[in-house]
Symmetry: C2
Subunit: 291 residues, 2 copies
């Protein structure tokens, strides 16, 4: 018997079949188009397999309140056709197995905790820096929810004194996502991140903003591990630079040896690499089965 | 049978005897001096009562890792005589009952959740704005811990464009506590907060910084209730001003009716008033008993 996994992103869907140990047996990727067409492909992919449960890590915002009439819906996304899409309901119409559902980043955090860089820990955060900036968190052993799910990518950051860029967030302008997402980099410097590899100042500024946000996440959540991935993190000079600035921002205040002396083990790339999201969805399936 | 409660602050200790419903039967307050003298008074106060358990909400930093050799210690406090003080150990030497131990602000959050403004909710944060700025949090029904306990009072904030004050935090200068604690107000304006009641610009600036931090706490933790107390909040003009700025900072991004339309019920003063801390310690005692 297998578990099904869906990593539902705003640009592409990844569907996979896996086992209870996080091994992917089969996978397929297709672009996110209309809900009708996209879901038809999802259902087609899973149909042949005897599944025990399915996990979905979805772009959002999504409704995760179990007692809500719209639990399992994508709610107010900028992707018009997906607004109020009943994701869990649609899956349940086709598959009568337990369905796990959470945000894409919460799923990735769960995957990393079960099989990746945060294995065995009671807390961690997973940050993705790509088209947007999203963060999933595990605290006291559980995925973090609340009034809604967190939207940590939009925290307010302190502007770099030499930076006059207005930011690209439609809500806040110069919030973290507005200043440091892939599209922010492209708009600020007039080129895609991948083409700016040799421009030191680009990655210095990027590290300044990401480190500042991470310092605040550490002060607020006190995670045992900080995992950071996404397209922008393909720039290898970024991670050491981020670690350096985090230490500078905290300035010795958080007196734990991991932060004072083992920054290289504390802020790390995903242990599951680009599979964090899909393995996370697998972990959501497993969790749904255990409930 | 009774429960014992200790609200251990940097300037004063409050000890109380209470019942399982949060009612205080007896209480005493004395200044925090040396550990020897202070603990002698603590022990004297509790000695006559048949206690089932004792809860301690302590100033910190404190070690809360159950598997740590220094669990229950106050660790690196600026109060020299209390550095490495084995608080739980000292209590256990005198009373052979379960001892609950956490930070003062986590205790207050727990108290508010059990008997105060966050009754029945699965998440909340409790912020105190006084000599320092501290925050306790409950997430998914549990007190938030991690690598260490959070230190949310020290998050980095965006400076108000007209504000040139350097800040008073010895670690960060202009972090939240550095810009908005009681001593920061006193240093910036040359008078104690209580004497500045009629100076509109003081409370406008104060609300700007506190609201910014609260906006970030909301984006990161998504609490169902935000409770804010402490000496500085005695300024009644502050709370409406804070609510106003939080809405401005979030700018419609967090689309939940409580935040969009019921800010007056969302960001509130402590339901337990000045008893949040000591009732919280009582709640810690109760929790220790149930474990
Ligand atoms: N090698 C790279 N260096 C810098 N930026 C990159 C690199 N590769 C991709 N990006 C940026 O990352 C963003 C895409 O992020 P990604 O995590 O791949 O997808 P998404 O966030 O859409 O799921 C784009 O803005 C792109 O410019
Ligand atoms: N009415 C008031 N208006 C403004 N600030 C006040 C007021 N009362 C106390 N404060 C300030 O609050 C701080 C003390 O905070 P408090 O919460 O009472 O104690 P502590 O944080 O030491 O436990 C002091 O800096 C004091 O100036
Ligand atoms: Zn934003
Ligand atoms: Zn500070």
């Amino acid at each position: 018997m297998y578990l099904g996994a869906i990593e539902a992103g705003g640009t592409k869907f990844v569907c996979a079949i896996g086992d209870h140990d996080g091994n992917i047996k089969e996978r397929v990727t297709f672009p996110t188009t209309t809900p009708e067409e996209t879901m038809r492909r999802v259902v087609e992919f899973f149909r042949p397999y005897p599944l025990e449960a399915i996990g979905i890590g979805s772009f959002g915002p999504v409704d995760l309140r179990r007692d809500s009439a719209t639990y399992g819906y994508i709610t107010s996304t900028p992707k018009q056709q997906w607004v109020n899409f009943n994701f869990v309901g649609e899956m349940k119409r086709h598959f009568s197995v337990p369905i796990g559902f959470d945000t894409d980043v919460n799923a990735a955090a769960l995957g990393e905790r079960r099989w990746g860089a945060a294995k065995g820990l009671q807390s961690c955060i997973y940050i993705t820096v790509g088209t947007g900036i999203g963060v999933g968190a595990i605290v006291e052993g559980n995925l973090l929810h609340g009034l809604m799910h967190p939207e940590m990518g939009h925290i307010l950051v302190r502007r770099h004194p030499q930076d006059t860029f207005a930011g690209v967030c439609p809500y806040h302008g110069d919030c973290l996502e507005g200043m440091a997402s892939g599209p922010a980099i492209e708009k600020r410097w007039g080129k895609k991140g991948a083409e700016l590899a040799d421009r030191k100042e680009v990655w210095e500024l990027e590290a300044f903003y990401l480190a500042q946000a991470i310092a605040n996440y550490i002060l607020i959540l006190s995670p045992e591990k900080v995992i950071i991935g996404g397209g922008v993190m393909k720039q290898e000079q970024l991670l050491p630079n981020i670690r350096h600035h985090v230490m500078e921002f905290l300035n010795g205040y958080v007196q734990h040896e991991v932060i004072l002396q083992k920054m290289d083990e504390y802020i790390v790339l995903p242990g599951l690499g680009d599979n964090a999201g899909v393995c996370g969805a697998l972990a959501l399936a497993k969790q749904a089965l255990d409930e």
